[in-house]
């Protein structure tokens, strides 16, 4: 097994607007012509397209690591989900149960170990290609901070290279043809992972959810479709993929919608800092207290407390504030805020890294042992205590 990497793209804490935007992601759904969609492929067809795509990917010269997921142990697949390289659905090998789960008819769904794979660039993991998820190909590009345009350019380039040796299913009216009509047309899903603790603390998160719905956007949990928001992290993405060009979809999100959400969250932070500073500091330093002293810790609690810690970092409660932090919290005329006495320094990259390492599969990989849930809770608490000892 490859050694654990601690520098995954989305947690570097670099780039634009990192006080709110953890990462940016672009995903293109593509299918091959003259082959049924994944849910209706025979095992022989699956192996055939898997080989075709693999040969194509390897000819691109992009230095991609290829993993056959149907042969990978569950711990490995979970690790890839935690690193946001594959979806939960792809790890499980089947579509998550939705409203029609009650029909009990799943013969057309892929069984758990049907041939499927992921390829990703190594070591930067910025580009990944899921093979036989819901569509034959899902091309994904990931960036730290707010950089949808950069991610878009990389995904688009990979798409061009792949297409030069593959024939895509494409129709003049419906565009890129996808297994589910929710992705048809451009096949493009743009998403940003947002950290919105102040909107929740000030009771405004529901307004953002409603606004997102009104604009045909989805606000989902930490691991995308079918997951909950963990520790105030939300994925905001377009729902419309058909009838608007890639450029228009990109401009809508980056030009209109994201700036507004950034403004809301930053205004809420300023309001917390200016009007309820004692409350804010109390919450942040209580979280630090729990994280640096607790003996047992669930993933859920760790994410909740780390979210508050992250809020403290971006509000400048730990050491010097970088530019993004300044923009987030300072208004013209604001005096430089004094740091609370005795607090050590803590940066975004550290908090982001801990957010990844407290996840079950990463925790076991970091410590090099498989553990049951009880032992993981103890090990997680120890890892956090060690990491935050000097803060």
């Amino acid at each position: 097994m490859p050694p654990i990497r601690t520098d995954s793209e989305w947690l570097r804490g670099e780039g634009d607007a990192t006080d709110v935007v953890v990462s940016s992601r672009v995903r293109l759904a593509r299918n091959l012509a003259n082959v049924p969609f994944v849910n209706r492929m025979s095992p022989a067809q699956r192996l055939n397209t898997l080989n075709t795509v693999r040969a194509r990917v390897e000819s691109l010269g992009l230095h991609m690591t290829w993993i056959d997921l149907h042969r990978a142990p569950l711990s490995e697949r979970t690790l890839l989900v935690e690193r946001h390289l594959i979806s939960l659905q792809h790890a499980r090998g089947r579509k998550p149960a939705t409203g029609h789960a009650g029909t009990g008819q799943t013969p057309t769904r892929p069984a758990a170990e049907e041939p499927r794979a992921v390829a990703f660039t190594s070591p930067d993991e910025r580009l990944s290609i899921m093979v036989h998820e819901e569509d034959h190909l899902r091309i994904q590009a990931l960036r730290s901070g707010l950089d949808l345009a950069g991610a878009m350019a990389q995904a688009d380039d990979a798409d061009d290279r792949l297409e030069a040796g593959l024939t895509y299913a494409f129709g003049t009216r419906f565009g890129y043809l996808t297994a589910c009509p929710t992705n048809v047309g451009t096949g493009l899903r743009l998403s940003v992972m947002l950290h919105l603790p102040s909107l929740r603390l000030t009771g405004n998160i529901e307004r953002v959810k409603h606004a997102a719905g009104d604009m045909n956007l989805a606000l989902r949990g930490f691991y995308g479709e079918g997951s909950e928001a963990a520790g105030d992290f939300y994925q905001l993405s377009n729902q419309t993929t058909f009838g608007k060009s890639e450029a228009v979809l990109l401009r809508e999100l980056t030009g209109e919608i994201i700036p507004r959400v950034l403004d809301y969250e930053r205004a809420a932070r300023r309001s917390l800092l200016n009007r309820r500073r004692a409350d804010l500091e109390d919450q942040v330093f209580r979280a630090l207290g729990v994280l640096s002293r607790a003996r047992l810790m669930t993933t859920e609690e760790a994410m909740r407390q780390l979210s508050l810690l992250r809020l403290g970092v971006v509000c400048g409660l730990f050491g010097a504030a970088p530019d993004a932090r300044d923009r987030a919290t300072r208004q013209p005329g604001d005096a430089e805020s004094a740091h609370p006495d005795g607090s050590g320094s803590l940066d975004l990259a550290t908090v982001n890294r801990l957010m990844l390492h407290v996840q079950p599969a990463h925790l076991q990989r970091v410590l090099g042992v498989e553990m049951d849930q009880d032992r993981r809770r103890a090990a997680r608490a120890t890892l956090l205590r060690d990491a935050l000892a000097g803060v």
Binding site: F37, G243, K244
Partner: protein, 191 residues
């Protein structure tokens, strides 16, 4: 974690600070809805499609099989069950049903606008391919012009600018509004 009010798993977590007091609640979905803590977000596209499919599924019980895709054999009724089509040809086979469905769930979109694979244009008959491309472009220009009108009406100038760029790229430098297109009901995010 259990719901504060019943035995179900808590999926809605709320943390509020009022007057320096920290109020934490963990509720299951149904209790949360009753308490009005976290109203469900507006229906997403998959939900809309599902709702549509269930509505559409109700009346024609007798036509269980319905039309089927000649290529992969998928019956439209199966698509209603799973939400997934069987093969690329399904889009042609079910175009009449899918058109209105997509228009509803994709903010009024009727035709693909945007990237086209370079290899997609290789039709066997070059004359018909050219004609097809011309029709296609006209449809895209009409769709974009409609969106542009809506964007301007809704004062979404960023979007309008992007649409105008797109129209220019398609060889429509004047970007005139289509005279033939009927006035569309506002379907964009402006309403």
């Amino acid at each position: 974690m259990k719901c504060d009010q019943c035995d179900q798993e808590a999926t809605v977590h709320e943390l509020r600070v009022t007057g320096g007091k920290r109020l934490e609640r963990h509720l299951c979905e149904s209790c949360a809805r009753r308490e009005g803590v976290a109203a469900q977000p507006p229906a997403s596209v998959p939900e809309l499609i599902e709702k549509f499919l269930h509505q559409a599924a109700k009346p024609p019980v007798q036509t269980a099989a319905g039309p089927a895709c000649p290529r992969c054999g998928l019956a439209f009724a199966e698509f209603r069950e799973t939400g997934l089509l069987g093969c690329p040809d399904c889009y042609q086979a079910f175009e009449a049903q899918l058109g209105p469905l997509l228009e509803r769930s994709h903010e009024g979109g009727t035709h693909h606008v945007g990237k086209t694979p370079k290899r997609a244009g290789h039709a066997s008959d070059p004359a018909s391919a050219v004609a097809q491309e011309r029709d296609d472009r006209a449809a895209r220009i009409a769709a974009l012009s409609k969106q542009l009108e809506q964007a301007v009406a809704g004062e979404h100038y960023e979007r309008a600018a992007a649409l105008r760029d797109e129209l220019r790229r398609l060889g429509d430098p004047a970007c005139p509004p289509p005279t033939s297109a009927p006035p569309a009901p506002p379907t964009g995010p402006t309403n």
